[in-house]
Symmetry: C4
Subunit: 216 residues, 4 copies
């Protein structure tokens, strides 16, 4: 398996499209964010460290194993958070893509709701954009994990969570943004978009200064 | 009548343009939203379920009858909310297009004002973007209906309303966004844009923390 | 003078560019806004009524006299607010372009500050984007006039103001948006952009809930 | 050295790209903002005064010395703030590019936090987008300097600061926006984007009306 493999080329094109779309919305400023997709059972295409997502090129994607170790090019420097992606691919064989963005509403809500450990959603039709949610009446808890520079430990926390809650399509890291995943880049994109929109709505409710008790 | 019919091709092009425009503004994230236009008396072009509106293609539009049943392709899966569109076309022969978006300001205002059952507008020149409104001095009530996953019952509520108030150009569904309609895709687009802008203005007034009594 | 005149063609191109730029930012949704530029002493190119500004075409510009009467095509329906534009061209021979937008921050600030009759600005470097303002220390009053559907009377109010204050580059109409003008389309564009940015900053200060007395 | 020099042409292209990107986001409205990059030890490419950044052309870049004096074309009118750029290039030989924008969140935060003399950041992963910051746990102070129309004195203040704190990647000027710098246009772009995003997050926390004491 290398970067000329058809499967790699195909998912690289999808990741470039997703990165440019999200980069163009300001969700991955200052080289933040990272994007990956599975290429077979034991390898992943992931953005290299430090590239501009709004102008991502196919060459910015490198091939790594599920530990985040570079396969092609062998001296590649994959995203520093490749281990988090790897945990998701290891723990759930059904995960085909993992996308991480620093979008403004989710980043802010991850701080505002950190004390409760989750953004708690209900009453939004958009919740149905999350796999497994069938009605706006369902109470959906998007977990928020504390941030740390110890990526291995963060990867373990996210991995343990997805093992315990295989139905969850994403999570927030406090002050750090959204991780969203899915069977395909398309589904992961959908989860990221739904989560950011829902956080934007929740933030707008709070900014309109509606006391919690008065909300419907 | 099928999808090669000239009338179908023409409105499909208009719907693609509207979907890409609104999708590009973030009003139809995560495959949300649905868009339709009448093709003759008994058929409608409508977006299929689950497609990305920002990248909509003519092939994403399918032909259905006014009950939302697929005509072409016969195995098409039209939008889950096709019945709501159908009610509007049935109840008002003058309705030529129905557009539904999850735009952020309207979605949030639909929650903030749900207890009153309407977003009440006055004093905005943009109100004149709504068919039949001739002055900013008119008090305009945009009705908010409660959301439900029972699409047939929601369709009936919207249908009954438009029968009772044939002059209304749109409504909100709580936590769910805007339905806007008009004689043409162009007029329906105008109604969606006016409603989202007016909701954005009203939300900004609230976010600036102006108590109701102090507002002019 | 007609629409094939070189001077008309040149300013039409500039107005199309301005309308598409502002339309793309959401400052002229739902066919709102109107844009004009002087073509000689007694004629003006102005957008026709009801066109989509984000997709404006040269054919959407019509030639009118300073009363807003159609010259070419003779049956044109110019913007309903052509009389306001005309007053500005009549009162100040140095005015070469007039642009009107429904941009969100200015529209909201025009309501929030209507009781004071002005948005009062100081301390922003961007104030220097307004012709005649040389320092952020200057206190700049952007007048707000009450809205009315009597366009002739609104035109007289704006006209009288610009006669009394020839240095002013623009004004707000309550709930209705910005009128900005200048020697050229370029200068008028600059005034619109500066006014909307300044209103956005002032709105953001208010939304951050800073009591007036605590502001620097 | 002149504007046909390869080094000039290369950095001019990078500056055009940065200006169009930032201009397109509304961070340099009304001809605000200025952009420069070093061309050798004693010369700088900088935007001329008064051009539209969203539509910047290579010809809008002029060659100046480190005092901001025009070299090519000899009658060029460089940005009025060229002296500030010059101080940064003089004081730190490692500075290769200086970008200045009027972005909304930073402009507003520069007023809200002016009394404290700094925007104080902690807990945001995006802080790592600033050169030298290795963890979200670091408390980062982005200095805010008072605005003045005396550019030479403002240049001296910024210059003295960067001499005292060579690790700082940028600063705010009250009511005036961000200055960001770096070894290259790419690094300076990254610093501007990180600073605006961080200010947006901080503003959103405040707008959600969270009392300081309750924030995590």
């Amino acid at each position: 398996m290398n970067r000329r493999d058809k499967a790699f080329v195909a998912v690289a094109a999808e990741l470039v499209e997703a990165a440019r779309l999200f980069g163009g919305r300001g969700w991955a400023l200052a080289t933040s964010g990272n994007f990956s997709a599975r290429v077979g059972e034991r390898a992943v295409a992931i953005t290299r460290s430090g590239c501009d997502k709004q102008q991502l090129l196919p060459d910015d994607l490198v091939l790594v194993n599920l530990d985040g170790g570079a396969l092609d090019p062998p001296d590649a420097r994959p995203s520093a958070e490749a281990a988090i992606h790897g945990q998701l691919y290891r723990r759930r064989v059904s995960v085909g893509a993992v996308l991480h963005v620093h979008s403004p509403a989710a980043t802010v809500m991850s701080r505002l709701c950190e004390p409760e450990g989750a953004v708690v959603l209900s009453g939004w039709e958009m919740q149905k954009g999350l796999a497994g949610v069938l009605t706006h009446e369902q109470i959906v808890r998007i977990p928020i994990f504390g941030n740390t520079q110890d990526v291995a430990s963060l990867a373990a926390v996210v991995g343990d969570h997805v093992t315990a809650h295989p139905e969850h399509p994403g999570c927030l890291i406090a002050g750090h943004g959204i991780y969203g995943w899915g069977a395909s880049v398309t589904e992961a994109r959908c989860h990221i978009e739904a989560l950011e929109f829902l956080c934007e709505c929740e933030w707008r409710l709070r900014a309109a200064a509606v006391p919690d008790g008065d909300r419907k």
